[in-house]
Amino acid sequence: MRDRLFITTMLLPAVVLLVLFYGYPIFDNLRISFTDLSLLGMKKGGNWVGLANYRELLHRGDFSHILFNTLIWLTATSVLLRLLIGLGIAVLLNTRALKTLRLASVARFALLVPWATPPIVAVVIWRFLLERNGFVNDALMGLNIISQPIAFLADMRTVWPSIVTIMLWNTVPLIALSLLSNLQTVPEEYYEAAELDGATNWQMFRFVTLPFLMPAILVLGLMSVFWSFNNFVYVWLATGAGPGTFTNVLATEVYLKAFVDFRLGYSSAIGMVMAVVMGAFGILYLRLVAHRQLEETL
């Protein structure tokens, strides 16, 4: 009993700190989401409107479009490609050939450059590359692949692939380097044994490498989902949610409603919906996928 009291007492400051640090902003955001608080009326405060903001959000004609953009383009597409490309680069960097040619260190260093580039700078660089007289259009026209410049960030056919490309350029290195460090922990004997058993390269990858990497892939995947789903910078800086509202996502909608339309209450409601979606995803993911995979691996 005394031990329990002692442990509780020791933990209490940390728990109080966590509740204040994380709990208070969430609670306050929830409170604001039930009001009509405006940026112009911050001194007065908002009036209680109950669930009106949530009802308005869910009944909006373009809510499904914004949700689709957020879930499919910004999150699912970018996360899957990030993991696939990151895994490919990690495997490539771990090959004997690259090591023999002493290119592995150079390649690893080269990967650090886009990773160390702040997202805002990455978007600016890519905007220059993708503009009418930018490098990409010049190169494609020089190679006679296209005859007219493509409006990569303004054409509805190319705008999402362009945003995803910028995201990948900036974030794949983290995945690649993380997986590479995991790859280097796979015991060499496993490959030797598999080779003796006549395993092909693909079988070695499928049955030796991948199981070893799976815990890391799962954690990186989960983190990537959170980073991508909540991301504001790439879409806002690349397209401002345009053309029209074609690339509008939940994070940019939060900004637009709060700081363009001044509707802090409504914007908080969108924020709460985002938190609930991510919370539900996190719980589901941990219970259904990560937990089982980790158990199998261990």
Partner: protein, 424 residues
Amino acid sequence: MLKLLAAGLVASVAVIGTVHLASADPVTITFRFNDTEQEVRGAIDAFQRDNPNIKVDLQRIGWKDARNQFLREAAVGEGPDVAHVAQVWVIEMGAAGATLALDDFIRKDPPPNGFADFAAQDLAKGRDGHFYGLPWTTDTWAMVYRTDLLKDAGITDLPHTWEDLRKNSEAVYKKTGKAGFGFPAGSSASGAMWFLANFYWWSHGKELIVQKPDGSYAIGLMPKDVVECMNYFKQFMDGGDNPKTNLAASDAHDPAIIQALVTGKQAMGAMPPNTYKEILKAYEEANPGKSIPFASAPFPHQDDTKSSMIGGRMLVINANSKHPNAAWKFTKFMASQAVFAQYYRTQFPAQTSLLKQIDFGAPLKGFAEQFPHARTWGAYASGPAPIGTLWNVTTRTFGKALSGQVSTEDAAKELFAEIGKQMP
């Protein structure tokens, strides 16, 4: 008793000394400016030389964040003493209690030539009848042309109607392969399509927001007016004479547009005078000794209609300022003739008396001709819808229409529905 007297004397000396020191201590005020530092650095230095007891700390922030940042700070008792704001923000900021009413200052210590000398006073006057800003600069937009490209396309006269503008733009593209009227058609909540759409409506004697005789506000357009305007500007995108990449450009000073005009890849543009001055300067630097192939002209209009805005900036004093007198002194100085004559030469002043003294010169002639056909935002700024929302809804719906995301009819319907929600 003696001890008591001595203590009293010491205390008095200490108090007097403190008061004396306090009056000699320089007051520091902060000035938040949203353009480049070099534009105002000379004026600030001159003010500090003339007023050694007032130190001015210059803060800079981008226009896109300026309004929100100031409102957020002012709501919690913070923020700069003096802020550089768009004219159309002043009424909202006054209503939010973020800015100080300037009536007492204007009455007791008026600017030279009086407050009546300033343009856009209606935008400085809050809903409670008090003045919350001092108009500082005007940036009426006009059309800008590359005369050499027009000549190459066989065009000898600058267009006077919207139809001519369309035909000339198309002709430039077809005959020279260069962009015609390259306007920023981006969808972010900026002034890009917002300005052009309103100029088009005003020139046809119509306006988006009107104040009715009973004082209430309403949408002054019919859906067909919006569709017609969207269709007009869509032709430039569909025809290719405004490059599709401009669907990603949201400002008149977008580098791609400026560069295209400077290098002769685009024949026509629409912009405020400071952007045009930058283009002229860049052209002169790149082509020393060559004659300038640029001309400016008003937007198409009828004799009795307007086709541009008396836009511009104001200076406001933060309601939380601890040094309002010093802030007013600085504000008044920044609006003086000396500042515009010697230091802040990229902008035009907001005082009628100072505007009359300006020699616009040949390239800027069109801006001077535009002034009589320019108007303030009036009901737009005093109405119930935040101006940022009007910008956002208009540019988004135009962006949807111009990019082909939805039809012009559907985009116009959305514009009406969204702005309609803002009308009580």
